[in-house]
Amino acid sequence: MSPADPLAALWTSAERTDGLEPRPGAQDDPGEGNYAFREMHEAVRNFDVIVVGGGHAGAEAAWACTNLGRRTALVTLDPAKIGVMSCNPAIGGLAKGQMVREIDALGGLMGLAADATGIMFKVLNSSRGPAVRGPRAQCDKHAYAEEVRRLLATRAEIDVIPGAVERLVVERGRVRGAVIARGGEISEIRAAALVLTTGTFMRGLMHTGERRTEGGRHGEAPAVGISAGLRDLGFELGRLKTGTPPRLERASIDWDALEPQHGDASPAPFSDLTDRARFPRSAQVECRITSTTPEMHALIRENLHRAPMYSGQIESAGPRYCPSIEDKVVRFADRESHHVFLEPESHRDSWVYCNGVSTSLPADVQERLVRGMPGCARAVILRHGYAVEYDMVRPHQIDACGMTKRIAGLFLAGQINGTSGYEEAAGQGLVAGLNAARWSMGMDPVTLGRERAYIGVMMDDLVTKTPVEPYRMFSSRAEHRLMLRSDNAADRLTPLAREWGLIGESSERWRLFERRRGEMGAIAAVVDAVKVAGGRLADVIRRPEFTVDDLALALAAAGAGGCSREAIETTHTERQYEGFIARQRAEIRRRGEMERRSIPGTIDYAEIPGLRAESREALARFRPATFGQASRLEGVTPADISLLMIVVRRSRGDRPGEGGEP
């Protein structure tokens, strides 16, 4: 394969009919293709897992599968579009940045790709506490997608199969494979597990003013058959809307006249694997800030009747946190101006992303609109903004490992579950991919708790709440925010990744983690033993005015100066938050046993006497997998939970007092 053209490698691998199988354990040395010969069926090709969709959920799912050495088919409408950033070419941010760190700690792909292609790195909230800092990177969109494709191509277990999923093959309530259509040809592939990541493509419909185009992304066809197929299988679908702003030609903007926005002076990478000496790899860029004007707001008001969100052309719900410029002008009528951030999308082209003016107004209005912004009087639009409506599968139909309750072996991840954002998609992709791989190996599913990861918070929210808008992660959704920090992602998750087989014993990641663990232990020993001016270091370190630098100095003075800055920072943070974290841990311990206790899927809520109607309805709809999930359903009271516990225990065969009780 030629490194310059990773796509060619994928195509080759997709077309490959030689029946080659990767060497077991090849997952931890990217770049090697060491094959052993394997029997191959003629018509129907067999895989361990099929991943449908090559976006951020699909890529991460396929990657996770290969981390477990599973032979994976990645089915996508257009292999050239794998890893594409459809909207803002940025990774991370508040809460999202923590998720990228978590993905990385679990052996994922996103952090590596962002680090390799970032053109502006910035830690948001850097002046605030460590629990609420969010690393963010703007990436070169072309380089990013290419890097994702390059990384996937290093995994010999992945076969990229171009085509559309015509239908899922389901036998006796279990996934068996998928029928793929490409051109006029129909073929079938088989696997015990299938991860569906259709993004905005399921019955995607794009709106720019009165003009409507079928498709999931500009210039790309929608996925049509799959919606109907899912409905036929009994799934309840919903419809959501999201939008994207116009892209401008950089040369048409009076760039230097506008106020610049810089990244961090010393950028920090997402991934623990990224070589600090060779970072950042790309030249860093600046953004520019401009704004909307009262004249623009007037223009928008005059043309509201042509905006699909207001003309009634779109009825699905869009996100409150990412309103279109039409929404902003209507809902915040007293504001005379809104900021607009002009962000270069790539070193390879001159496209500029207009962050702040997501719109589905007609093209002619968009043209006049963008020229109203200071510095943009001659601005040329390279692509108009549009809104896209798409089908989702209402997420109460999956469980916290991503598998649907209705069809065994069928997993859903990403926007199909009603979420928004690359990081949310990737997090679900990882969870679904991991569990699809485990399912194909006959292993039990694994989940992340709310106290363990933002990804766990997200999965739990998805399976216990009714979505009203595309779900986006915010740090305020995590009740254990002080524990879910970007600095301790590896401490929280890398041991789990090791246990679950996502990373190998001899991997670089595990070696780095062990080193960090050793350092943390050494630092703790010093902190607990040493006395400094003002008392014991263990007490002094908790004072809010005691900084990380103070700790580094104290450690150096005590002869323990060789530790990494990261380990010192985490120690400092945990000691500063100690009392608060202890309180949260106590709460988690109290709830722990109840939180994980499982509820059998066979339970019939209609048969439970004394359950209130509201509660019965919520339980029957969501079918919670654990008592923890049940207790978070709207309308379910503690009394209902007591009742349910009795019933569950009874249904397990009238053997009170057995099995895992405290």
């Binding site: 900021h339 722990g592 359950l611 009271t637 007591s642 009780e661």
Partner: protein, 455 residues
Amino acid sequence: MRGGDTIAAIASGAVQARRGILRVSGPGVGAALRSMAGADPAPSVGGAPVAAACRWRVGSRLACPALLVRSFAPRSYTGEDAAEVLLPGNPALLERCLAALTVLEGVRLAEPGEFTARAFLHGRVTAEQAEAVSWLIGARSVAEAEAARRLLRGETGARFAAWRDEIAACLALVEAGIDFTDQEDVVAIEAGVLRARVGAVLEEARAWLGASGPGVLVSGEPVIVLAGGPNAGKSTLFNALLGRARAVVSPTAGTTRDALAEPLTLPGGVRAMLVDLAGLDAAAAAGGGVDALAQRAADRALDAADVVVLCDPSGVFAMPGACVRAVERGAGVVRVRTKADLGRRGGEGCAAIAVCALDGANLGALRRALADAAAGTAGADRLALPRHVGAVRRLSEGAARAVEEARRTEGRGVGRPEIVADALRAALDAIGEVAGGVPPDEVLGRIFATFCIGK
């Protein structure tokens, strides 16, 4: 139900009895006994229950003689460490003791049926027994929810809701300063402003709890007084409502002399004190001797009434002076045409309930009317369930933590907003348990409604 907690509840009924029982179960029983009774009895050989006399702490300066029966896991009703405390059977005292207990770290009020649920889970009762209890849980949780709903309908409810909304508003402002600092529109709340706003809630909550330490303010059920002329059938009705022959009845007018008071549980779990009076008679009051004393006792009872039940077999419902005063004070009025079996007519203009206490006709309707009238009264508002006391106490703790953190960083924005938010979230969840919760998504909703978020 949450496992791992230590749970407590009053195990005896609401009706006045000579002995009341407080039941506690869970890993924290030993610590709770040491705190409330001064000592935790040592286990006997073989783990059989141990009984001990003690002085049970009621308030900061008050203790009450009690008998303690301590059982040890797994040989207890629930299969966990457990204790039963036998106290004098005064409902107000019991609730006060319970409130003091549930303020302890790790101890909370038991949910309906939770003792039995735990007993079943530990194999201490059979599935058949648990089945019966599961029916009860359903019924009781509905009743409790109804009682809480009625309580919150009054002034207390408005106050709780105001605290909750203010804490939620402050939390939204703090969270906006965390999750949306990159938004032009968002201005983080000043530490001083935050301290003032949360401090105001804290002050009110502390005032509500009272100044005398844990376990106050649980008393004063609404008082329902049966009033009417002599021989109106009040005592017969009194007995019928209680379901037992508490008052002496006779066809002779003026049989009742003393005001009799008995606790009464009404539909929806509303508890009240039902009072029977001597028939109101202006001539008797003007006279002397025992009759005049009985009239004075009746007047005093009416002065404390939250609900006046006007009983009149004629359906005329003339209102004696003491009743007028009660109504002017804000007491509710329920009109009852007693002795409905006599089939008299009259007074159709008034909304009255025709009741025959002898055959029970319409007693159900009367009970519901009394429950409704009692729920909205000042008496109902004075009646704080232990659950509410505990919630307000935890609200105060969270608010105090937030205020302290804001004070530390005043003048420098909210220095550690994540710590302030942690405290406010704890406060909000606490008050949310009794006033309706505000989940994170609603806090976000407040942010989106206040600020223009979204690049």
